[in-house]
Symmetry: C2
Subunit: 463 residues, 2 copies
């Protein structure tokens, strides 16, 4: 319970109009994209790095837990308030501090919307490669916390690969600067990448120096219908073995295709289609046709029923339609989507999809799988009715089996969503005790009172 | 001084033939590429991860400092024995544990020679992009310790970008595993990248899972003579603003060109050449001519005296000859090379080279500069006679001024060599006190007795 003195201290530090403890505001910030809701004690809206430093010092002095929050668009409860905590919303911190096309970098406050960074970069012929699905509204701070990615990761990498340096405030109320402004640098420990993916448990990231790349001139798309998931995923291996890096390599399984049938988005798929790939190439207008030809050659193989290509904007949109209609379509299957974000080595994808099918059957659950096949990153969605206790129990058993299989195949629990509240019980299965113990002691150095995002990432923490 | 009991314990743990304390062996392992020499008390040659775990436990029990060592090819004293320490040489640990072309990865012991990894990868049409100059003999463990890079970094990134996961032994004698086997993963803190670049101060890295890429089909080279460094470095900015990423973008200043004149390697440069660029493109045979044309277009500008291109192996070698002859040629100028490895933003390179020229004049020293211009990474070599006290004093004053300028321009102290013993006094100029304090506390978590590579990276440590 937030004390009146702590509340007053936050108001003194930030100003009256940046501290809200009314029920309406607290309700607005009580949830993220997970189905749970936890009311915070208050919501803070810092307007600058100095504001964040000031509020962290108040939190330290009054022992107040803080839940940092970008857009609340995360899938794993990373921004779900810890009970008794105060939400720190970064949404007012969206200034561009420096945009430097010659050095191919931008320095932004971490409340900036991800796609706004890309939009700014493109004004100078550059682009910001990471493209999470939430990019139109997610804040870059959330992307940094979770090391977000998206379809382009197969060619361009993830958020981590585009962070040169950070400015942040630790849980001890200390301002730190990590990294540099250049694409190379090995000066002290890499605290930049330690903070990326740490889910707000080590520090509140206030500013980020991001690397930009020259924007590709054009893009073209292929859509491929396969007779089976294994045929499609064998084609994925062939794609990843040849030199043309696709700028997207997306997979949909049979249940995903069935899910979009009612929307009409599957009407133009070849008859007998049980798996879909969408493959994209980008680059110079003069070169993209060569890339597409090379990708087409690699994609040829058993079970390929149909291959369509698009070079014009409308044709590309048409080819993506099935994939883009999916998120909305799956909601019709059941009210709750348990959205896993696992990764297995590309060579193991087909075995894993077989296992998902068997698990769906054993546990009598619709499981819809799709995702970034070139990285081995599948979004596995268990569709459930939360009021059906039997179904929920089966879903938990299925989840358990899926996680065990992911790890047995040499995979990892999360590719781009993070651990949050939702997967922390699984963490000890992947990370051995001495390694996890080191993570805990590192946490203590940054946040000795355990004030930053308690109850996230680590199993069995105190919140 | 190593106790007889500790020595016996190492012999029991590793076997008689893996522990040497004779003067000849100790002398062989007393130095790296810096001019200093410090005799270790013994040299250990572990043969496996388990051996490293065993020796670390002996070191903990007997409080013996360890100096990890790959090939000893570092430039900053990273492998220079701390006084009273025992060298841990990884040169026997060079096994390939797994080579998996379908998942584009290789798992190796960290004593493997860097270029051997690339050679293995190419057998399956893949390659290992980082290409430090020492690649023919450096060990991957040293590359990991220093986050090594090379000319290809401008297109492909540095060692850090190719490490998926690590196996290591901490200074507390605990075996840990970090990261994963897939190109995406956000599961707990990124200890992998915390270890990369930590210069052996956190853990002894025993095995690395490395990412490979499909090998480019072909390569072509441009060599450009410019009337001034500023003209050449303006061209570098133009290259980095357009979409074709060169696979190398190397710069040599006027003093570097003068240095190679006696070797004949400058004979075919255009008259009046005061700066040289070597630019490379790689990719599909069908596409490289387009890339070269785009690069040529971007390179056109004031002060361009001559541009030569090569597509055949001999022509390429001829164009690289000036750059490749440099390392040997500079040794004729003076017996000692103080080799700095600074980085400034690409937009600041020309100002920085002007400052180097002025510094050389003020302090009456030959300073030869060349390096990876596309990353803003310059190797600045102060050529001195170590017996000339006045010259050495001027060199130290010049170094001091150069480091101050690098930081004033938004740069960083090291791009790919690391800090080691040689630059640690400069570290507090770049890293602020709270950030450096955090690095020290992280060090304590991994290595509570301070046994791992003491006297490196941190300023004013106890060795």
């Amino acid at each position: 319970m937030l004390s009146a003195r702590a509340l007053a201290a936050f108001r003194t530090a930030l100003g009256e109009n940046r501290v809200f403890d009314d029920a309406a505001t607290r309700t607005l910030y009580a949830s993220d994209e997970t189905p749970r809701q936890v009311m915070p004690d208050a919501v803070l809206f810092p307007n600058s790095h100095d504001d964040v430093l000031a509020l962290a010092r108040v939190a330290c002095a009054h022992t107040v837990a803080l839940t940092p929050r970008g857009a609340g668009s995360g899938n794993v409860g990373g921004a779900l308030p810890a009970p008794g905590s105060v939400v720190v919303s970064f949404e007012c911190m969206r200034r561009v501090i420096e945009f430097n096309p010659d050095d191919r970098l931008v320095v932004v406050e971490t409340g900036m919307v991800t796609e706004d960074i890309d939009r700014l970069a493109r004004e100078a012929g550059l682009f910001y490669p990471p493209d999470p699905g939430s990019g139109p509204y997610s804040r870059i701070g959330g992307n940094l916390a979770m090391n977000a990615a998206g379809p382009r990761a197969v060619k361009y990498g993830v958020t981590r690969d585009y962070v040169l340096g950070l400015r942040a405030v630790t849980g001890a109320g200390e301002a730190i600067r990590t990294g540099c402004r250049t694409t190379k640098g090995v000066t002290g420990f890499d605290l930049t990448r330690l903070l990326v993916g740490s889910e707000g448990t080590l520090a509140l990231i206030t500013e980020a120096t991001l690397k930009l790349l020259p924007a590709p001139e054009t893009v073209a798309t292929l859509r491929l219908c396969f007779a089976s998931a294994r045929d499609a995923l064998d084609a994925v291996i062939r794609i990843m073995r040849q030199p043309v890096a696709p700028s997207a390599l997306e997979f949909m399984d049979a249940r995903a295709i069935d899910a979009i049938r009612p929307t009409g988005a599957a009407d133009d798929l070849a008859s007998g289609t049980r798996a879909l790939l969408v493959v994209e190439a980008d680059g110079a207008a003069e070169d993209v046709p060569r890339q597409i030809a090379a990708l087409q050659a690699a994609l040829q193989g058993p079970g390929l029923l149909e291959m369509k290509s698009g070079f014009a904007r409308e044709a590309i949109a048409q080819l993506w339609a099935a994939r883009k209609s999916l998120s909305h379509a799956v909601k019709r299957i059941a009210p709750l989507k348990i959205n896993e974000d696992v990764v297995v080595p590309v060579s193991q994808l087909a075995d894993f999809v077989d296992f998902i099918d068997a698990t769906a059957e054993t546990h009598r659950l619709p499981i819809v799988s799709f995702g970034h096949a070139g990285n081995g990153n599948l979004h596995v969605n268990l569709m459930v009715h939360p009021d059906d206790a039997g179904e929920m129990a089966r879903a938990h058993a299925a989840l358990d089996a899926l996680m065990a299989k992911v790890l047995a195949l040499g995979g990892t629990l999360s590719g781009e969503h993070g651990i949050g509240t939702e997967k922390r019980r699984f963490l000890p299965r992947e990370i051995d005790p001495p390694t996890l113990a080191l993570m805990r002691t590192i946490k203590q150095q940054f946040d000795p009172q355990g004030l930053l995002n308690p109850g996230k990432l680590f199993p069995d923490t105190d919140a």
